[in-house]
Amino acid sequence: MGGEAAWRLALRPGEADSRGTLFIGLGGRWRIDQGLPAPESLKDKLDASVHRIRFEAGELVEWDSGLLSFVAGICRACAERGIAVDDSELPLGAQHLLAMARAVPEHKLAARNAGPQGVFAQVGVATQDFLRGAPQMLGFLGEVTLSLLRLLAGRARFRARDLWLEIEEVGPRALPIVSVISFLVGLILAYLGADQLKLVGAQIFIADLVAIGMVREVGALMTGIIIAGRTGAAFAAQLGTMQVNEEIDAYKTLGISAIDFLVLPRMLALMLMVPLLTLYSGFIGMLAGLLVSVTIFDIGVFEYYTETLRALEFKQFAVGLSKGTVYGAMIAFAGCLRGMQCGRSAEAVGHAATSAVVTAILLITIAASIMTVVYYQLGI
């Protein structure tokens, strides 16, 4: 075995009686792990003077697909140029496999618009996608609304178990991360606020600042963003995988509304749990504020407590809870929308999850702005 050269290729034009024939000698080992010659160099030799080629394999030692793909490539080039091919000297097995590869004609597919696109084309395509996306989003909004109405009318069908599973998944299991972030935000809020208030000797108002800030705005916002990343992405990935496995199609063909069955429990779970998490987040934020005030700014625990109670009116809770509910709905909407729109590949599932988070945060931002203005105008 050793010392044997890898593949050898020898070309010999036919003489006298076989003018117009090109003899292609294949010798040595033609294996894919031995490297392969480029048929291009050989294709140049297939000019008008050649009418026929003949493979010679007398010195062939070993072969596999390396040889076959090389010969097949040359045969294709010959077919294009109308050159006859004689492969009768190749090993019998190789002849058979080559014949099998030729047996099924090439599939003719619609041409694809592959290849890199210019900047303008890309902008155009992105705009088109966006414009196509808007009605889809509205359509989905309509379907979800109808489904919620069916729920109110007691006609929506889904499994209660799904709802409980989702509630557990988005509620209790999110407590650790919500605690950590809320504590940090409460800490920062109290620290920054107290530092400024100290200048006018009004440190005690840290309590008001932290209480109102956390309960009314920041608790809901932080919870919303955490849940968008944690649960919105998960929803999109779950529904996206179901889309890949044709599970959603299976619901549809059974006449079961995938919206009722899959989207509704997720929507309800988030609309219930995000406001509760918002409350919890506010509470943790106030604890952090208390800690900072007592240890660093010398405010008494009782003082802080009474000031907090004074600051918190019912309307602050109402604002926080309503925002939490709306954010929850936005996250579920974005997660389920992107999941339902998912394509049929692993990559598409990843894209759905990413896009769910981005969409959710965008929707939260829009909703937060609108609600803040409206509440201000209403004097709440």
Binding site: L36, S65, S69, R102, A103, R112
Partner: protein
């Protein structure tokens, strides 16, 4: 044939937790065999395949490739043994974000270091062999079930493996395509000397291409027959004959 069998399975048992799928499997696959694994749905054919190719550690027993015990080998040795195998999964298992051409090209590019143009040529040939010439740029989601199967086979044979393990190749194929696939399997064995382990229910394939087989029973959870499928049909265990005649004779 050989002094050391190509693949030898000794007292193999496979289980999921407490559930024993099959136990006490003993058989030998020789070089150049077309070895058929038969048995009813859920008897453990896929599980056996996963144990053979190194995806799922068996509960007991050993799988030997040319005398080397796969499950007791070091990670490097296992990697080297795996290189000798080509696998077609029951569901095709194509990479969904790659085109067909990219699916087949990946193992070739990964292991041979050939330039892209050479790789493309091999890919075109492999796809033509399974009857998918011209489908290079399609994504798996754009294929029918049978096309996925055939593309999976093209990927399994990308590197001309010494041993090809195929899980239900002809399920989902039309009868003509299924026959072409049988011919291809036989041709691969005859010309490249590939050893082929086929999990299949297709009676026509079992009887026409197989030269050795085992039958896994789903009730006793053991193998109840081994040998040439034609012999099993003529004089085998009653259950096997029942299976091979679609319940015709008891």
């Amino acid at each position: 044939m050989d002094a050391v069998p190509h693949i030898e399975v000794r007292d193999l048992s496979m289980a999921y937790g407490d559930f024993i799928v099959q136990s006490g499997l003993d058989f030998v696959v020789n070089k150049g065999d077309i070895f058929i694994v038969m048995g009813g749905n859920g008897c453990g054919k896929t599980t056996l395949m996963r144990a053979l190719v190194g995806l799922q550690r068996p509960a007991a027993g050993s799988v030997l490739y040319s005398g080397e015990d796969f499950w007791n080998a070091t990670a490097d040795e296992q990697q080297r043994l795996k290189r000798r195998l080509g696998i077609l999964f029951q569901g095709g298992a194509l990479w969904s974000s790659l085109t067909l051409a990219e699916n087949v090209a990946l193992p070739i590019a990964e292991y041979t270091g050939l330039p892209a143009a050479r790789v493309d040529e091999i890919v075109a040939f492999k796809l033509a062999l399974v009857g998918l010439a011209g489908c290079e740029d399609l994504y798996p989601a754009e294929l029918s079930g049978g096309m996925k199967k055939r593309a999976g086979l093209a990927r399994a044979m990308a590197l001309d493996p010494e041993i090809l393990v195929i899980d239900e190749p002809s399920s989902g194929l039309d009868p003509l395509t299924a026959r072409r696939l049988d011919e291809l399997i036989v041709e691969l064995r005859d010309s490249l000397g590939t050893t082929i382990v086929v999990v299949t229910h297709e009676l026509a394939s079992i009887l026409s291409i197989g030269n050795n087989s085992i039958y896994l029973d789903s009730e006793s959870r053991r193998m109840i027959a081994t040998g040439h499928p034609q012999d099993a049909l003529k004089s085998g265990h009653p259950k096997v004959r029942h299976f091979l005649t679609r319940g015709g004779t008891a």
